[in-house]
Structures are given as C-alpha cells and as structure tokens.
C-alpha cells in the first residue's frame, strides 16, 4: 500500500508540474495576475506530493519491505537503521527521487520566499523550473520507477554496497544534489530573463543568494565526498580526477565564476550576457554530470547501474534544456550588451581575469574528462584513459595566476584602480610570502619548484586577504575598540569573502603538503615487523578476527612510536560483508594538524607464501592534509556568512553609507 501511495503522489506531482509549465508563463505574457500567482500553489503542491513519495520510499526501506524491487536490491534486514534510511538515496531510482524532491523544494522556496522579485519574472522562472520537474518526473515514472514491485517477495534483501554504508556517504549525495539542483533556480532565472529580453542590476541581485546557496552546498558536498574517499577507500588520496569527481567539480568552477560575475552585473551593469551564459552553463554542467553518472558513457568507479534506455532519455532532456536555452541565448543575448565601462586595472578587470581563468579551467577539465570518448569515436574504438598526470599538468599551472589575482582583487577599486596605490598596500605581504616560500625551500629542500611556488602563493593569498580585511577596519591604525566597531559595521558579505578566500588559502596548503610531501610504504608484514615512516616507528602486532553487525573483519594492530615513546595504537580493518559478498577497507588514521599517519590493511598473504599471519600493509604519511578539510569548512562558512548579509535578504537596493571604496566584494 505504501509504495502505491508514493507512486500515485509522483503522478500527481507531475500533473501539477505540467500545469505550472504553462499557466504562469502564459499569465506573464497576457498580464493575468491570477495565472501568474497560481505558480505559488502549484510549487507548494509539487513539493508536498514529492515529499510524500520520498517518505513512502523511505518507509519501505525502514520497514524492509522486500516486495519493492528497489528495497530488495539495496537493503537488508540486518543493516543498521541509519543506512536503511540512507539507502533511500543509495540507488539510481532513489537518488533521482531525492533529486526531484530538492528541485521542487527550491521551486517552492522561490515561490514563497522571493517576495522581492518582480511578479512577471517570478512567474516565468517558476514555469521554467516546472519544465525541469516535468522532464525528471517523466524520466523517473517511465524508466526508473522506485516503487516497482516484485512477487513473490524474497526472504531478505541484497544489501547496499558496503562502501556506501558510511556516515560521510549518507550525507554526501543530499549535499551534492542541493548544490547541483540549487543551480536549477539560477538557470530558470536566466532563461526567464532571456524570455523577457532584459537583464538588469535587480535581476543580478535576485540571482545572487541562490547562486551562493547552491555554491555553499556544492562545496560542502564535494569536500565531504573527498573526505569519504580519503578515509574509506584506503587509497590514501583525496582527489583522483575520476570522471564523476570531475563532473561535480565543473559546476563548482563555473558556479564560482558566476558568483563573481554576478557581482559585476549587480554593481556595475556589465558582463550581462556573460553572467546569463554562466548561469546556463553551470546548470548544464550539473545536468551533464547526472547524464554521465547514469548513462554508462564513461568508465568510472562511481557509476550507477547502467541502462542505455535511461541514457537516451537523459540525453533527450539535455538536448531540450541545454539546446533550448543556448538557442534562446543565441537569439536574445546580442541585444543585451552595454553598460559599465572600466579600465583594465580595476575590480571589474580583476573579476574578468578570475572568470576567464575559471572558464578555461572548466574547459580543460571538460576536455580531459570527455577526451577518452572523443578519441574512441575518432579512432573507431581505440581506448585510452586520461588521468592525474594530464589534469595536474594542465590544471595546476592555471590555478597559480588565479590565486595571485585573488589576493590582489579585493584591493582594486571599481572602474579604475591605481597600480601604485595597490602596490603600496600589498608590498609587505608580497615580501612576506616570498620570504615564506624561500624559508620553506631552505627548510624542506628536495621538493619540486612548483611545490614551493604553490606554498608561497598560498601564503600570499592568506596574508593579502587578511591585510585587506585589516585595512578595511583600519586595524592597528586606530584604537582597537574603534577597529572592532568598524568590523561590526562592515557588511557580513565582506567578512564572508575574507573567510572564504582565506579558506581557499588554507586548503591550498593542504593540497600542496599532502600531495608533494607525502611518504608512502606498501609492504608485507608479519607480527613483529617494524616500519620507519616520516619519523614514526610502526610495529605490526598481528591481526585478529572481529565481528560487526553485518560484517566480519580482520583487524590489524599497529603500535605507533616516535622518539621511543609510545604514541598510540592504530586498528586498520578489512571488512567482509557476507550478504553483498564484498570487502572494504577501514583505514586507521592518526590525525593531527601537522599531518595524518594513515594505515590500511590490504590482502592477507596467500598460503603459498608460506608465512602465516602475514599481511600486505599500506602506510602513508600525508602532511597538512587536514588543512584541506579546515579550508573547505572555511569556504562553506564564509559562504553562509555572506548569505546572511541583509543586502541579500532585503529587496530594495540600499546605498551604503560607508565609504564607497570599501564596498564588499564577496
């Protein structure tokens, strides 16, 4: 009964979405207030029915109703409750339902919360949002119904992939989807603006909070996924340039560019058609990600069960949504130029460089991700893979100038800045950062030049960001109380920007430290084996069998000593899940801000080796790796603080009373 309610609710949501696709936009064209206002109720209705469907699926999972195919294939009666709940979005069908739920939630939020948006724009935006709903609801109902039944019911389920039975991964998809799907609102706003044929500062101001919110969620989602890969997969890395990682990273890069170009459109009326294009591109790349993950187009460790029919359906969706919006763009954009002249050295100029680099970087990642497909098509079936060597060689050199400009940007004033004035302010910071790079070079020696350069640039970004913040509140120039008063007077968006930029600097320290100065040992250990790594002495004391709720594990014991003093004991595990017939590694990590000592237990020795109780052990030391998570948290927090700025909440454009040159850059 419960699954049928869910199924029926989905059909009702589709019916409402169909109505909303037509009525409000038609109402906007013929100025019919009632028709425009209908969007509010149909948006709320859609979220209501989709939530019922979602709750129905979750209920089926919690009750272990194995007559539902989706539950049967992705759950097991012995699975812990948390993972029964998270199993709801562990499969293709369930995650699609979550996707649609988030889509409708965002639509309803625009309908209810965006009171400052012009009625006509809002009606058009919500209709466009409903088109996306229709696309995905029909996709789900026709090709991927999560409520399909099976008869007779089997005794027990086939269990969720054990790798996915993890708290980090229970949270990762919802956050990622909040990001991906959040950009749908921005897309709908952009398409509505194209239909209207008008983009102005007000439009940019409506779009910015949604962009920022989606960006915050996407940042958190990617960071969480990366963290999960780091501690769960047992490979000791946090980013692998896997196609599915790349497709989440591309919307992030584009979204970051959009976040900054929308500022220029809002404040200076420039970059209009570029901002619209970025809005369309960001969501298009999110859709592309959905397509790649679910169609089996590329080989990836993440791919869902593959079905060409589904692939064709999503490709059709992509053709309509992306093709349609680009066609609209080609038609309307040429008439939208003008406004906001500026000198090359100015805030606008800095943000232009930011946008160009981010766009080039996105293009590079896109090209690298799809190159295997292009190559295969051109050579008639030959294959190759594009991995970290390409991405590291192509992507990192692009990021270095970006980081440099990022430190400089907030010092630049709108329209025109004087080179001399900026130089005077950053001179000390530049010297300090150079000094830091040289000291690191002297102290560490033997690393690549690029490593030291990156460290110096991270230091530059951190110091320049703090210097700019200190400059704004005139820290040290005026009494402390006065500086605090000034800090409180700054818009929250300014604090948010400072925190986020500093967060990226902190994360760069982590990226560089853990990839350039990593030590790694893979070796065969028997009880009593001693390993020397990065100043630690690690002794393998043996492995024993332990039993978990739905798995059996081999647990190794490693005694860690440094300078002849016992520090701690690590227990890496290798778990076998009998129902799913698969094995996972649980790495053991000694985590400090200086670095992580990371151990993971790989295969046991085969009998032929003649050594009983011997294991393959992988042990790594990753310096500064936790700076990545700290920096990511700062990025997210910075975004949230900026989001709470009253300027983004209150509609009317308020002229600030503070000095214009201290306007926030976010």
């Amino acid at each position: 009964m419960v699954p049928e309610i869910g199924h029926f609710a989905l059909v009702l949501a589709l019916a409402l979405a169909l109505v909303q696709s037509v009525l409000p936009i038609w109402g906007a064209a013929r100025s019919d207030l009632m028709w425009m206002k209908s969007a509010t109720w149909s948006s709320l209705g859609q979220v209501f029915f989709t939530a019922i469907a979602f709750a129905a699926l979750m209920t089926s999972f919690v009750q272990s109703d194995f007559t539902v195919v989706n539950v049967l294939e992705n759950s097991h009666s012995l699975k812990p409750l948390l993972y029964k709940v998270s199993g709801t979005w562990g499969s293709h069908e369930g995650s699609l339902l979550l996707w649609v739920l988030i889509l409708t939630v965002f639509g309803a939020m625009v309908a209810v919360a965006a009171n400052n948006v012009a009625m006509r724009t809002k009606a058009r935006t919500l209709s466009v949002q409903a088109w996306i709903s229709v696309g995905f609801l029909t996709f789900m109902l026709f090709t991927s119904n999560p409520f399909d039944r099976v008869y007779p019911a089997p005794l027990d389920g086939q269990d969720l992939n054990p790798l996915l039975q993890d708290v980090g991964l229970a949270m990762h998809p919802p956050l990622l989807y909040l990001g991906y799907v959040g950009f749908s609102i921005v897309f709908s706003f952009a398409v509505a603006a194209l239909i209207e044929g008008r983009v102005d500062a007000a439009w940019a101001r409506w779009v910015r909070p949604w962009t920022l919110a989606a960006w915050v969620f996407l940042t958190a989602g990617i960071a969480l996924g990366s963290w999960w890969a780091y501690y769960e997969l047992g490979w000791g890395g946090w980013w692998f340039w896997d196609p599915v990682e790349n497709v989440s990273f591309m919307p992030w890069l584009m979204g970051t560019a959009l976040l900054h170009s929308a500022i220029v459109t809002e404040k200076r009326g420039a970059f209009k058609s570029w901002t619209i294009l970025l809005a369309i591109l960001t969501f298009s790349l999110s859709l592309l990600g959905t397509f790649i993950v679910r169609s089996g187009l590329l080989t990836s460790v993440h791919a869902f069960a593959v079905d060409p029919e589904r692939g064709l359906y999503i490709l059709g969706l992509l053709a309509v949504s992306i093709g349609g919006s680009f066609a609209l763009y080609a038609w309307r954009a040429p008439s939208m130029e003008g406004g906001g002249l500026f000198k090359p050295v100015s805030r606008e100029g800095g943000l232009l460089v930011n946008n160009l680099i981010l766009a080039a970087a996105t293009g590079t990642v896109l090209f690298g991700t799809l190159y295997p497909l292009f190559y295969e098509a051109f050579t008639g079936g030959q294959k190759l893979s594009v991995g970290p060597p390409f991405f590291n060689a192509a992507f990192i050199p692009m990021m270095l100038p970006l980081v440099f400009v990022m430190g400089l940007g907030p010092f630049l004033s709108w329209k025109r800045a004087t080179v001399g004035g900026v130089f005077a302010r950053v001179r000390i910071v530049g010297l300090l950062a150079t000094g830091f790079g040289l000291v690191a070079w002297y102290a560490l020696r033997g690393g690549p030049v690029l490593g030291y350069l990156s460290l110096a640039l991270a230091a530059w970004l951190l110091l320049a960001t703090l210097r700019e913040w200190a400059f704004r509140i005139r820290l040290f120039d005026v009494p402390l109380g006065e500086a605090v008063r000034r800090a409180r007077g700054l818009p929250r968006a300014a604090h948010g920007m400072t925190l986020a930029h500093a967060g990226l600097a902190v994360a760069i320290f982590g990226f560089v430290g853990s990839s350039v100065w990593k030590s790694e040992e893979i070796l065969f250990v028997t009880p009593g084996t001693e390993i020397q790594i990065a100043g630690f002495e690690v002794t393998f004391a043996g492995a024993e069998k332990v039993r978990g709720p739905n798995y059996i594990a081999d647990r190794g014991t490693l005694n860690v000593r440094r300078a002849d003093a016992h520090i701690m004991t690590l227990y890496p595990e290798r778990r076998f899940y009998p129902v799913a017939q698969s094995t996972t590694t649980e790495s053991a990590i000694r985590s400090t801000m200086a670095g992580d000592l990371y151990a993971s237990l790989a295969e046991p020795a085969s009998d032929q080796a003649g050594a009983q109780g011997a294991w393959t052990l992988r042990i790594l030391y990753e310096p500064l790796v936790n700076f990545i998570w700290l920096g990511s948290a700062m990025l997210v927090l910075g975004g949230l603080i900026s989001l709470s700025d009253r300027r983004l909440r209150v509609g009317a454009p308020k002229r600030k009373t503070v000095v214009p040159s201290a306007m926030p850059a976010e």
């Binding site: 295969e376 294959k383 032929q608």
Partner: protein, 188 residues
C-alpha cells in the same frame, strides 16, 4: 561577430551531443579494453634480467622462438593486487606446467628480488622494465596485466587486472584453452 559568439555555445553543445549519442550505442562497452596487439606479433622490446636474480631477461626474440603458448605477466612489487595474483600464476606454472614469463614494470631490482624471495619465483624469464618503455610498447594500462602469446610470438589474448577469483580464473583458463595451452600442459 556578436551574433556568431552568441551562437557558439549552441554549436558546441550540438557537437558534444552528437558524441554522446554515438557513445550511447548499446553495442559499445565502455569498460572493455581492446588491445591493438591481438593477432599481431609481439612488439619490439629487449629487457635485461632483474639485477640480483639468476633468471634470464626477456625480449621479443624469446617470444618469437617459442613453439608453444606462453603467459606473459606484467607485475611489480609495489602493486598490491599482484600479490594476490601471484598464487594463481604460481599454480598455473608449477602445477600445470605452463610457461610463465614476467615483465617487471617500473620496479627497483632490490624490491623485486625481495618480493620474489618472499613469495617464490614462478617465472622462467623476467625482463626488468625500469623505464616503463616495454610497457608502452605492450600498451598496458596498469599493473597487473597478463598476455597469452602463441607459438611464433603472436599475441592471442590480453587480460587487464589481476587474475584472481573464480570468475577471472575461469575466463583466463578458457583463453588458455583456446590458445591450446592447457592440452599441452602437464597438469590437465
């Protein structure tokens, strides 16, 4: 110009879409890794023996000279799955009398010797591919990979990844059988 620029996203999207449509062709398996070497003579390569090991090196000439199928396994001491695969290969070589040659890929000789002393050496010849040059000639995508080379040095089969587990071993044995290796083998 502006009009052309405004059209370019649409044009690019159409080109991408065409590739995607091609990529969805149901006959295409994105996970299959074909080898251009199949049915071709083994590629040109000459590898020195692993220093510190009394096993001869491996070159193309050795493969051309063979009159029965041989297994060529690409392995390395730093490769974790190779350890698991080692037992399977040892069984094929020692219990069933298959000829097993090795290419020791991007490995320090010292580590390779330690690894083989630890696990035992089932290989009749091992070439030390310090630079990875021979790996390029063979077109390997990673380690381990295992080839079956027929009489006269013709490459018959390629297996990517470790031959470990019932399914993989059965697939590999079927290929050995097709190559006529098992009927010659002492153990079958």
């Amino acid at each position: 110009m502006v009009r052309f620029l405004a059209f370019s996203p649409l044009l690019i999207a159409v080109v991408f879409g065409a590739f995607f449509l091609w990529g969805l062709n149901p006959d295409r398996d994105p996970n299959a890794i074909p080898s251009v070497l199949i049915s071709q003579p083994a590629p040109e390569f000459t590898l020195e023996p692993v220093e510190g090991l009394d096993v001869p090196g491996l070159s193309r000439a050795d493969l051309l000279a063979t009159d029965r199928p041989v297994i060529v396994n690409v392995f390395a001491s730093w490769c974790v799955p190779c350890r698991a695969e080692h037992a399977v290969l040892t069984a094929l070589a020692e219990d069933e009398g298959q000829i097993l040659y090795g290419i020791n890929y991007k490995d320090k000789p010292k580590d390779a010797v330690r690894w083989l002393n630890e696990l035992g050496n089932p290989y009749q010849r091992i070439g030390s591919d310090l630079t990875g040059r021979a790996g390029i000639e063979w077109g390997i995508s990673g380690v381990p990979e295992t080839f079956i080379v027929g009489a006269g040095g013709v490459v018959l089969y390629r297996y990517v990844g470790p031959v470990v587990g019932d399914e993989a071993v059965a697939t590999f044995r079927a290929a050995l059988n097709a190559a006529g290796a098992l009927s010659n083998g002492a153990g079958s």
